[in-house]
């Protein structure tokens, strides 16, 4: 298990946040995803095989950009 901490730019409403969550959860291997509109940050808990790129793509799919990413 690992955890990606992401900072997302471009979110401005709560459906944005829930869309990103949904999109992240669809990535195979992602166990849990949380996005906070207030902090413009999110976390994705996932299997070790999930790559940074997949997370980035999942966010991009909904129309937002990751401005910072950390792995834990």
């Amino acid at each position: 298990m690992k955890k990606y901490k992401i900072t997302i730019s471009g979110m401005h409403c709560s459906s944005c946040a829930s869309n990103i969550e949904k999109s992240l959860k669809k990535v195979p291997g992602v166990k849990n995803a949380n996005v906070s509109l207030m902090l413009k940050k999110g976390t994705a808990e996932c299997d070790d095989k999930v790559s940074e790129d997949e997370i980035k793509k999942a966010v991009a799919r909904t129309g937002y950009k990751i401005s910072n990413m950390e792995k834990e």
Binding site: C13, S15, N34, K41, T43, T62
Partner: protein
């Protein structure tokens, strides 16, 4: 300090603190909405004048045939330049099936705008002016909302930006300023008066008082001397301090606090789950509803223009945002208010559970009392010194606060040499034993003496007296013969009495839990005003006692402890409140963590949780009520699309503003 010197100092302070103004993300957002807002209205105001001058005052500024083309020209930049991010995001949502709020606005405004072109062929009325007005109001709403959201997170933002950016390090006897990221553990840092302490450390030289309010919520500066710990991001008041960095980067106290706050914020609390579910399916449902409304009106009224207008009103009035913002904004304000007072809500759920709490179990040592016991009275059979020679020799091997009290007392009466102890054993919650020169020594409480069948006979009265004073009494025995008794007292924290009074006023039933025996515990309970006492409880039994209470009373139970040996009890309770002391914060074990060690913090935490949860409920109520009233009204065709848009914007703003009102609540 002379004046010049002070000036110099001030300058230094400036250089160290001047790197603090990184543009926060939120401000960027506000700025961008503001720009869009101004330009949108620049074009929308003329549109409004053209549209309403004829209708309201009968003055035709423009010839009839110019009207629509001019509205289309003026409306274009409002939608497709200043509103482009919304249109783009919304359209993208429509095509990728990740519908969002923008999808509704984009669809509504584009349809309205297109009626302008359709009006040329005479099949519908022109609504292109309405499109611009909707977008302008939407932008305005977003701007106000962004400002309010920024306000909601101001305390947290302050916390995030609290860390020092620079440090002054001592290298080869020279002071050099370096970036905080370059500081390593064991580096010696110099902090002048008025400066921020760069990172967690221990004072190696100098003394000063340190303002820790920004981190612990403790308002009175603390005096610090060599050997004391200091917390990064706190402010050195009056002396020059030399500290050795002990923790850096992610390991610092501040970093832990920030992590905690961020986790709370991105965590979902149960009451929000329904709202989230609705938010996530809200937009597609509204799209369908709008479409159905449009066709229903078209069939029954046979008026295409009116049907379009009503369809647009349905699109733009629906507001998933208010629902989505209800909890996070209130939680943000609440946790910000907490952070300012050193109250860290680690588990958002605790806020919801708190209002159900009826019983509050308080650990005695370290929670109600200072946790730093001192020897209060000694009753030796022979000489005091002889008694302590034996007692301290054994206790020296234990880390228990009582052991420390006995050892430090022994030192204070001039004892320097200890005897060799063999077979040393700690008997948890009861005492210790070991052998000195072959003689079996047992030191401990009444329970232990009974267990070992050591008769208390001659000491019975003394021990009882000690207990009635609230002293913890340690009996020292050698080969089953009692050598004496030592009474240890743990002073109450200054505000314990007040805090317990307030807990009772809040309708909670306080219960004290302790390893002390009945008599001692009762005496202390009496002093602080707690009359329900669980005495003789071994540390590992505390969790069980909490469980028993939960089952027997069928009530929610909160536990307040220092998290050192009561972590299981904190976990077992419905809401665990962990009291921290300085840097040794028991972050892992509590649902709510208090950075300062006072029991008043627990009272504040309870009040804050209740107030925050009430706000959340209010917000959710308004958001639900708004949508359940506004959407049917729009479907019924009684709302003009622009009015619908204004109502929508106001609903989001109301929720965020209401969350900000939480600050007015008195929680102290």
């Amino acid at each position: 300090m002379n004046h010049e010197h002070k000036n110099h100092e001030m300058k230094n302070m400036k250089t160290i603190n001047s790197h603090h103004h990184d543009e926060p993300v939120e401000d960027e957002e506000i700025k961008s909405w503001k720009k869009k807002l101004i330009f949108s209205w620049l074009f929308t105001i003329p549109i409004a004048i053209f549209m309403f001058s004829g209708r309201l005052f009968g003055i035709e500024i423009l010839p009839e045939s110019w009207m629509v083309p001019i509205l289309l020209v003026l409306g274009f930049p409002v939608l497709f330049i200043f509103g482009w991010s919304t249109i783009k995001g919304g359209m993208r949502g429509l095509f990728t099936f990740y519908f969002n709020m923008d999808s509704l606005i984009a669809l509504g405004t584009i349809v309205a705008y297109l009626t302008g072109f359709l009006s040329f062929i005479g099949i519908v009325d022109d609504y292109s002016g309405v499109a611009a007005m909707i977008m302008a109001f939407f932008t305005t709403g977003k701007y106000v909302e962004a400002v309010a959201r920024g306000r909601a997170s101001q305390e947290i933002k302050k916390l995030l930006e609290l860390g020092a950016k620079k440090a002054r390090i001592l290298k080869n006897n020279q002071e050099i300023e370096i970036d905080i990221s370059e500081v390593k553990v064991n580096d010696i840092l110099i902090i002048k008066p008025g400066e921020k302490i760069p990172t967690d450390g221990i004072i190696v030289k100098g003394e000063s008082s340190v303002d820790e309010s920004m981190v612990t919520g403790e308002s009175i500066p603390r005096d610090k001397i060599k050997g004391d710990n200091v917390i990064g991001a706190t402010i050195n008041q009056d002396g020059i301090l030399y500290i050795k960095a002990t923790k850096i980067g992610k390991d610092t106290f501040l970093a832990h606090i920030i992590k905690l706050v961020e986790e709370t914020q991105s965590e979902k609390i149960p009451i929000q789950k329904l709202a989230d579910k609705i938010t996530s399916i809200f937009v597609p449902i509204i799209l369908v509803v709008a479409l159905l409304t449009f066709f229903a009106w078209l069939i029954f009224s046979n008026d295409l223009s009116r049907s379009i207008s009503i369809g647009i009103a349905v699109l733009v009035i629906a507001c998933p945002c208010a629902l989505g913002l209800a909890t996070p904004t209130a939680l943000m304000v609440g946790s910000g208010m907490g952070a300012k007072r050193g109250i860290l809500i680690k588990k958002g759920e605790a806020i919801q559970t708190m209002k159900e709490i009826k019983i509050i179990v308080l650990d005695k040592t370290g929670t109600i009392t200072k946790g730093k016991p001192e020897v209060a009275e000694v009753y030796p059979k022979e000489k005091e010194k002889n008694l302590f020679e034996i007692a301290a020799s054994l206790e020296k091997n234990s880390e228990h606060p009582i052991a420390k009290a006995i050892v430090s007392y022994a030192e204070s009466i001039g004892l320097k040499k200890y005897k060799e102890v063999k077979n040393f054993k700690i008997l948890r919650g009861r005492g210790i034993e070991g052998k000195i020169r072959g003689k079996s020594i047992v030191i401990g409480n009444r329970t232990l003496m009974n267990e070992r069948k050591i008769s208390l006979k001659k000491f019975e009265e003394t021990i009882k007296n000690f207990e009635n004073f609230g002293y913890t009494t340690m009996v020292i025995s050698e080969n089953k013969i009692i050598l004496g008794a030592i009474a240890v007292a743990d002073a109450l924290k200054e505000d314990s009495v007040e805090a317990i009074k307030k807990l009772k006023e809040a309708g909670l039933r306080p219960i004290m839990i302790t390893g002390d025996n009945e008599a001692t515990a009762k005496a202390i309970g009496e002093k602080v005003g707690i009359y329900e006492i669980l005495a003789n409880v071994l540390p590992e039994e505390k969790a069980n006692k909490v469980k028993e209470l939960q089952e027997q009373e069928k009530k929610m139970v909160a536990f307040v402890g220092d998290g050192i040996n009561d972590a299981p009890a904190l976990k077992q309770s419905n809401v665990g409140i962990a009291l921290g002391t300085g840097t040794d914060i028991a972050i892992e074990s509590g649902d709510i963590v208090l950075a300062k060690g006072s029991l008043i913090g627990a009272v504040q935490a309870i009040n804050l949780s209740k107030a925050t949860f009430k706000k959340i409920k209010q917000n959710l109520f308004w958001a639900f009520a708004y949508n359940t009233i506004a959407i049917p009204l729009a479907i019924a065709g009684v709302l003009h699309p622009v009015v619908a848009e204004i109502a929508m914007a106001l609903s989001s703003i109301t929720v965020v503003t209401n969350a900000n009102l939480l600050r007015r609540k008195k929680i102290d």
